[in-house]
């Protein structure tokens, strides 16, 4: 079989990698998680010049000495997958801080094509990039581009085509075939940055110690590995510690000694790269006119100011998330699919068909009827999750591609800091008011594991989903005092438990830091492709969760342990001063949050106001619904998920107990 030429697109966040990916690949793309992480990697194939190319869009990478999980995933991919050519997309306005990565890629031994993108923004900034000179300086092929408008794409394809044909033919330079339209100078190959003598000596010692071949499965050159070691990159050190046992002590000593003193090598290396990059950029970039700020830049700056930014943020959250995702997606669309399609047509047909096919009640209940795998599990995934996921990802991809997300994060950061969360967490938390299961999935967009755990906890504890919120409002609205106490208690418990968790969880809050790109008009095709690929992926992830949840319910009913659980819960309810019928409400609240809340609706007239407050506060804080719980286990792992459940249960019962003691004393059960 013909071997495909594999191209990886690399570069910083927001430089247009995914736009280029869209240009190079056909309709079919697959988004998946990088193994062991929650970072998305998109893969696709493209055909041109009679050849087939495999294209990988890697996550944003600033530097090979990585910090974020996305960077680590991108580097791990470069280290482990055979890639024939790297396309390094750079922002032409910021050449000085893009080139250090180019140098590192060359140091690591990769063949690189440099795409200088955003030449339109370069022009608007009053600058001009001399692509010929840049190619000369770097010793690499360079293509200029405005990828959003497709400028430069034919040249990139043509270059990759020639590179693919030259594979395996001897005598061709590794940096690839030069063409008339790709100036490709520098006799003697690409530029390799040189460091000061102390660094170079340490590199020489380390490369010798690394031996004749690089550690197993690593595709970086020995020089690049040595430089990463010297910068005390934890992952690289771990790899070497585990693979080169005999020489490890000697290597560790070199690294330690190089980083002693006021000017450690781990600082000198990045600084040397940046100085070289600045020199090169000033040689290749000229100011030709005064900058004319684009509309996107002016608007983008305004949106960071609280006076303009906060109202816009409120508007984005209200219209974009609450109205569009929460009301239209989770309301109108879900209603249409669930009530009309499933409850009206599909489910009755399924019930009849299953009843005809199976005589045994056991099988009938497993597949269909109230809790069946098909009638509940499949229906939930298709009719409830898909519309919410679809509308959410459409909105998210729009916000992502327009460059708005970092602005949202910077505006919300201070508010969420006490909970140990950064501004980015505003998105999952707002979504939690729609559907907690969905929101738990979306905590993946947060940067650190610590932050994901905290957000999952806050969501599980006290962010009521739309179904619950609706019924709570219905039950409590007749008694405004009760509604107030409920809101205060839930908010108080949320802040108290959230900050307690933030204090208890090991590690510290990652300092907030984000690059703010100029606002850009999102490309519809790109937004759509991202949305569709993500929808397909999330649907695949969620379907098994819902199927598993309905099997669990079925098992519970068949094995007959529901009554046992009910009896246990009833005992707890009595301790809280609630009638034991509320146990049913709790149990159903776990199976389906909205069922639980609806059960409370039926029970409400019989309850005194203090009891009603206790019941609604505990029900809100109580463990989330079954689907969200299953998802928590899968996303966060058993340890974190169990801890979260235990904490939520403790907070719910604890505050219920305290309220149950205090409220009747204060108000004596009098009508408010």
């Amino acid at each position: 079989m013909e071997r495909r030429f594999k191209v990886a697109i690399v570069g910083c966040p927001n430089v247009g990698k995914s736009v280029l990916f869209g240009h190079l690949t056909g309709r079919y793309t697959a988004v998946s998680n990088y193994p062991g992480t929650t970072v998305e990697i998109a893969r696709g194939t493209g055909r041109w010049d009679g050849l087939t190319f495999e294209v990988v869009d890697t996550p944003g990478l600033y530097s090979l000495s990585c910090v974020t999980e996305e960077e680590k995933a991108a580097r791990a991919l470069l280290m482990s997958e055979p890639v024939d050519w790297l396309v390094h997309v750079v922002d032409g306005k910021n050449l000085d801080r893009m080139l250090p990565l180019t140098f590192q890629l060359v140091e690591a031994g990769f063949p690189v094509l440099v795409v200088v993108n955003m030449l339109d923004e370069v022009q608007a900034a009053g600058l001009e990039v001399d692509l010929g000179a840049l190619s000369e300086c770097l010793g690499l092929p360079v293509v200029g581009a405005v990828l959003t408008r497709g400028v430069g794409v034919p040249e990139i394809k043509a270059f990759l085509g020639r590179a693919a044909r030259s594979v395996g033919r001897p005598g061709l330079p590794r940096r690839g075939p030069a063409g008339p339209e790709q100036p490709c100078g520098r006799v003697g190959g690409p530029l390799r940055p040189a460091y000061d003598r102390r660094t170079e000596r340490a590199v020489a010692v380390l490369t010798t110690l690394l031996g004749a071949h690089a550690p197993h499965g690593r595709r970086l050159s020995r020089r690049a590995l040595a430089l990463l070691c010297l910068q005390e990159d934890p992952d690289t050190l771990d790899i070497l510690r585990s693979e080169r046992l005999d020489r490890w002590p000697e290597m560790a000593r070199v690294v330690r000694e190089s980083n002693r003193g006021p000017h450690p090598v781990r600082h000198r290396i990045p600084l040397a790269l940046h100085h070289l990059a600045r020199e090169m950029a000033s040689a290749c970039v000229r100011r030709v006119s005064d900058p004319r700020p684009t509309a996107g830049q002016v608007l983008g700056d305004l949106l960071m100011r609280p006076v303009v930014g906060l109202p816009v943020l409120a508007g984005v959250v209200y219209f974009g998330l609450y109205r569009f995702v929460g009301r239209f997606g989770a309301g109108t669309l879900v209603d249409a699919l669930d009530r009309v399609l499933f409850l009206g047509l599909v489910n009755p047909w399924l019930d009849r068909t299953v009843d005809r096919l199976f005589a045994s009640e056991v099988w009938r209940e497993l597949l269909a009827h109230e809790y069946g795998v098909l009638t509940l599990g499949l229906r939930y995934a298709v009719a409830i999750v898909l519309p919410i996921v679809g509308t959410f990802f459409l909105m998210f991809s729009l916000l992502e591609d327009s460059g708005y997300l970092p602005r949202l994060a910077l505006l919300a950061d201070r508010v969420l800091k006490p909970l140990g969360l950064s501004g980015r967490a505003l998105i999952p938390l707002t979504l939690g008011l729609g559907c907690g299961t969905m929101a738990t999935l979306v905590t993946r967009t947060l940067e650190t594991r610590r932050e994901r755990v905290l957000a999952t906890f806050v969501l599980a504890l006290g962010v009521p989903c739309s179904a619950q919120l609706g019924v709570m409002m219905g039950v409590l609205s007749g008694r405004p005092g009760a509604l107030g106490v409920w809101a205060l208690c839930v908010a108080g418990a949320l802040v108290a438990a959230g900050s307690a968790a933030a204090g208890l969880l090991p590690g510290r809050a990652a300092p907030f830091f984000t690059e703010v790109p100029p606002l850009r008009l999102p490309h519809p095709r790109n937004v759509w492709r991202k949305t569709a690929a993500r929808m397909a992926w999330y649907f695949r992830e969620v379907l098994p969760v819902f199927l598993a949840a309905s099997v669990l319910i079925w098992l519970g009913r068949m094995a007959g342990f529901l009554p046992v659980v009910l009896a246990g819960l009833a005992a707890v309810c009595v301790r809280l001063g609630l009638p034991k019928e509320t146990a049913v409400v709790y149990l159903f609240g776990f199976l389906r949050r909205d069922y639980g809340a609806a059960g409370l609706y039926d029970l409400a007239p019989a309850l005194s106001t203090p009891s009603l407050v206790v019941a609604s506060v505990t029900l809100t804080l109580f463990v989330p619904c079954l689907a969200q719980t299953v998802l928590m286990y899968r996303e966060r792992g058993p340890v974190a998920a169990t801890a979260i459940l235990a904490a939520a249960l403790g907070a719910a019962l604890g505050s219920g107990y305290v309220l149950g003691r205090i409220l009747p004393l204060v108000w004596g059960g009098a009508p408010w």
Binding site: K93, R97, P270, R278, R305, F513, T514
Partner: protein, 82 residues
């Protein structure tokens, strides 16, 4: 002008003030690396755009938002190169 050419952290700058970065000393090496990676390195000219709700600085064509802790790790010689 007492503040002229004074050495301050970015957190102590006023909106609109500019200067040259002389040192980056974040509390942990990862944070320093991230500041380097977006081009906040010694020798670069930095302008403080705003302080609230987060610090926003510009260096060249790059805009970066930071919290107080990160802003405090960037040392700037005010007014240099004006």
């Amino acid at each position: 002008m007492v503040r002229r050419r004074a050495l301050v952290t970015a957190a102590a700058m006023r909106p609109g003030e500019a200067g040259e970065i002389v040192a980056v000393e974040a509390p942990d090496p990862d944070s320093s690396r991230r500041l380097f990676a977006v081009g906040l390195v010694p020798g670069v000219r930095l302008t403080l755009v705003q302080r609230f709700p987060a610090y926003v600085v510009k260096a060249g064509e790059t805009t970066v938002a930071l919290d107080r802790e990160m802003a405090e790790s960037i040392w700037v010689a005010l007014g240099k190169g004006c």
